[in-house]
């Protein structure tokens, strides 16, 4: 009885009080200011019991902004270890989700999920404070998820199908069309989406 009842009651309490630790692992502090903006009177996340704390030991949610630059990989891993166990990681901004404009330069690892497991992704550069609140509400289970993958493909006439069969060798002859000179058949680093 003790386990079931109190633990269930505790998970409800967990929903009502989330202590947040915000870290910037290389961002341009656009998203950091939006994270701080979320605490200010107009958006006031203290309604959900969300409070910014100073030490990772007190944190439940890790708000990570910025593409993980190489010097920040070790500190981020240490930070992830320093947070007590029922914890959430929220990646905020295009940098944290995918690595933004500099996802593949020599000093940037790319998205945060290459270093620590991420639970919620909030894209946008920077995401509006409302978008961040929406992400947190999604974590709290208050709102449904609105986006989904879209795979579109035109139907191909039959005769072109069979022409294709003997034409395409085992490995498709692909010619890079995107400007950054990346040969698509060579793995697009980090893009195994």
């Amino acid at each position: 009885m003790k386990e079931g009842f109190i633990r269930k009651f505790h998970s409800k309490a967990f929903g009502r009080s989330l202590w947040v630790f915000h870290t910037n692992v290389g961002a341009c502090n656009g998203c950091d200011i939006e994270v701080l903006d979320v605490l200010t009177p107009f958006f006031d996340v203290e309604r959900f019991g969300i409070k910014l704390v100073g030490s990772p030991r007190h944190a439940d949610v890790l708000l990570v902004t910025g593409p993980v630059t190489r010097p920040m990989v070790e500190p981020l891993k240490r930070l992830y270890e320093a947070v007590p166990s029922p914890k959430l990681v929220v990646a905020i901004g295009a940098c944290a989700v995918g690595g933004c404009v500099w996802f593949d330069t020599y000093n940037v690892i790319g998205g945060v999920d290459k270093v620590i497991p991420v639970d919620i992704y909030i894209p946008g550069c920077p995401p509006k404070p409302e978008a961040i609140i929406y992400g947190v509400a999604l974590a709290l289970g208050l709102v449904p998820k609105k986006v989904g993958p879209a795979i579109e493909s035109h139907e191909i006439p039959m005769e072109v199908e069979d022409i294709l069969k003997e034409l395409t060798p085992s490995r498709p002859v692909a010619l890079p069309v995107n400007p950054d000179g990346k040969n698509d058949n060579g793995k697009q680093d980090g893009e195994g989406a």
């Binding site: 009177p41 107009f42 958006f43 006031d44 295009a94 989700v97 995918g98 933004c100 404009v101 996802f103 998205g111 999920d113 919620i120 992704y121 909030i122 894209p123 946008g124 550069c125 995401p127 509006k128 409302e130 978008a131 609140i133 929406y134 509400a137 999604l138 208050l142 709102v143 998820k145 609105k146 986006v147 989904g148 993958p149 879209a150 795979i151 579109e152 493909s153 035109h154 139907e155 191909i156 006439p157 005769e159 072109v160 294709l164 034409l167 395409t168 498709p172 002859v173 692909a174 010619l175 890079p176 069309v177 995107n178 400007p179 950054d180 990346k182 698509d184 697009q188 893009e191 989406a193």
Partner: protein
């Protein structure tokens, strides 16, 4: 000191609670806000103009064969600058005011299009026959660059 404290409390009191009831009531973004990227796949001809101009390089175009072109848009890296919308000659791309894009899985922010590229019999450039009927009739090759890199 006491006077300034009282004045501060009055400012706080007069402003009253300004908090918006956001997650419980919808809050539309300002008109002209560049939010989610939506692709109208019927209008898109696969010309690659958006891929050329995207600063975040998150639109990748692959020609699997002379007939099939795959356009992959990694919108998790998109910086919502709106350049692709401006450059798209066929108005296939639009950034609407939708900003609630939080997801639990990164694959939700990925759009892949697979286009059948018929060829224009006059200039040989590829285009997609507008109606399904036209597509049925079109047969033919589009002469790509030969493999030593010399363009047509």
């Amino acid at each position: 000191m006491i006077a300034s404290k009282i004045r501060q409390i009055l400012i706080g009191k007069r402003a009253g609670s300004v908090t918006l009831k956001y997650p419980f009531e919808p809050r539309p973004s300002e008109p002209g806000y560049r939010g989610r990227v939506t692709v109208d796949t019927d209008k898109c001809v696969g010309c690659g103009g958006c891929a050329d101009v995207c600063p975040a390089r998150c639109i990748l175009i692959t020609d699997v064969s002379p007939f099939i072109r795959i356009i992959r848009r990694y919108l998790d890296r998109c910086i919502h600058c709106g350049r692709c919308e401006e450059v798209c000659a066929y108005d296939a791309l639009h950034l609407d005011g939708e900003y609630e894009l939080a997801t639990t899985d990164r694959k939700d922010l990925f759009i892949e299009q697979k286009l059948f590229m018929g060829t224009c019999n006059r200039c040989g450039r590829c285009y997609i026959p507008p109606t399904p009927l036209d597509r049925l009739m079109v047969v033919g090759f589009r002469k790509d660059e030969d493999l030593d890199g010399e363009t047509i």
